[in-house]
């Protein structure tokens, strides 16, 4: 059985693919990329996003806590002064689904964003920046997730 939602997400995946290739203008790149969000593992996510293998770069400024008191809410932020970065994706290596979110920047905003993510366990977290001409750079940090409360 195919629902309307499936069809929508399928066309969305196509649009995202095109967007990844830089075919569509920024405005049209908002369709939800189901394949990428359901992918497990960093490589699978990168493939679903249609982007090249990234290179680690000190130009990606990635802020995340060393220790998360609560994995349900982990504050993270990424920014870069590099020109041409259009998107930043956040990936959590050990989460059941790896991709947390993708932010897309127009020229009217700074290439910088802060958000809060969930982490199931201690893991590497990656901020992956994608330029308009297909360069992919990343920064990463291990965030320790601790057990809390009375455990009850």
């Amino acid at each position: 059985m195919q629902t309307r939602r499936d069809m929508m997400t399928r066309s969305a995946a196509v649009a995202a693919l095109l967007a990844g290739a830089g075919v569509l203008p920024a405005r049209a790149q908002t369709a939800w990329n189901k394949a990428a969000f359901e992918a497990r593992g960093v490589d699978a996510v990168l493939k679903a996003l249609g982007i090249a293998k990234p290179a680690e770069s000190p130009d990606i400024v990635f802020t995340a806590p060393d220790i998360a008191e609560n994995g349900a809410v982990v504050p993270i932020a990424a920014s870069t002064a590099l020109p041409g970065v259009k998107r930043i994706a956040f990936l959590v290596e050990k989460n059941p689904t790896t991709l947390a979110g993708v932010f897309e920047f127009s020229d009217a905003v700074e290439t910088s964003v802060a958000t809060r993510i969930k982490m199931g366990e201690t893991s590497n977290v990656l901020a992956v920046a994608i330029t308009g001409d297909g360069k992919v750079l990343y920064a990463q940090k291990e965030v320790k997730v601790t057990l809390g409360g009375c455990g009850g």
Binding site: I67, K144, T146, L147, G148, G149, C150, G151, G152
Partner: protein
């Protein structure tokens, strides 16, 4: 719950007398307030509010007098069940799981599920676990610091027995200790596993 004007003992206590209530009156008032305020829920039944002598003696702002504390400790020591088979240590791996587990005995816990040991809530135990509490002392290197190289060695017997007693009934050595009397909570096999976590030279507690 009580949405009616607070009446019972409170009003009676205040009525017709200009002086402040005595401590004894306030103690009685507190008992009434507690009785009226709690209800049974799940496995947490109202009989849990019935204090034993020790709980009562340890419910004041000040600790009980030394003499009473001594008597209470002796009475608690007498409750300790020593292992019938003479075996004190179980499996430290199971002990570590128990130490991590803070569940059990709350009104949201289903009946019949064995309780955890709650150890990390209050104690440091291993180097690896950074999320530990500090209400109790650090137990990291517990056996090693006490020179226990072989828990079966007669030379280690005193510390092995002390540790068993502490786990079974912490009140036997410190009447108003914050530590629960785990002999009432855990079964003997679980206590043996915790013993191993603390005293087995291979346990991460004693790892260099």
């Amino acid at each position: 719950m009580n949405l009616k004007p607070l009446a019972l003992a409170g009003a009676a206590l205040l009525a017709g007398c200009g002086t402040a209530p005595t401590p004894q009156q306030l103690d009685r008032e507190t008992q009434d307030v507690i009785k009226a305020s709690f209800r049974a829920q799940g496995i947490a039944t109202l009989d849990r509010l019935n204090q034993d002598e020790l709980q009562q003696a340890c419910s004041a702002e000040q600790p009980p007098p030394a003499e009473l504390a001594k008597r209470l400790e002796a009475a608690q020591l007498a409750t300790v069940n020593w292992p019938s088979d003479g075996v004190y240590l179980g499996d430290w791996r199971e002990g570590e799981k128990l130490a991590q587990n803070g569940r059990g005995m709350t009104w949201t816990d289903p009946p019949g599920v064995p309780a955890g040991g709650n150890c990390y809530n209050c104690h440091q135990l291993t180097r690896a676990e950074i999320s530990y509490g500090t209400i109790g002392p650090s137990l990291y290197q517990y056996g090693k610091l006490r020179g226990v190289a072989n828990p079966a060695d007669p030379a280690a017997e005193a510390i092995v027995r002390y540790t068993w007693g502490k786990l079974w009934n912490a009140k036997a050595t410190n009447a108003c200790s914050n530590m629960p009397r785990f002999g009432h909570v855990l079964n003997p096999a679980q206590i043996k596993d915790l013993m191993a976590l603390l005293l087995d030279p291979k346990s991460p507690v004693n790892a260099p």
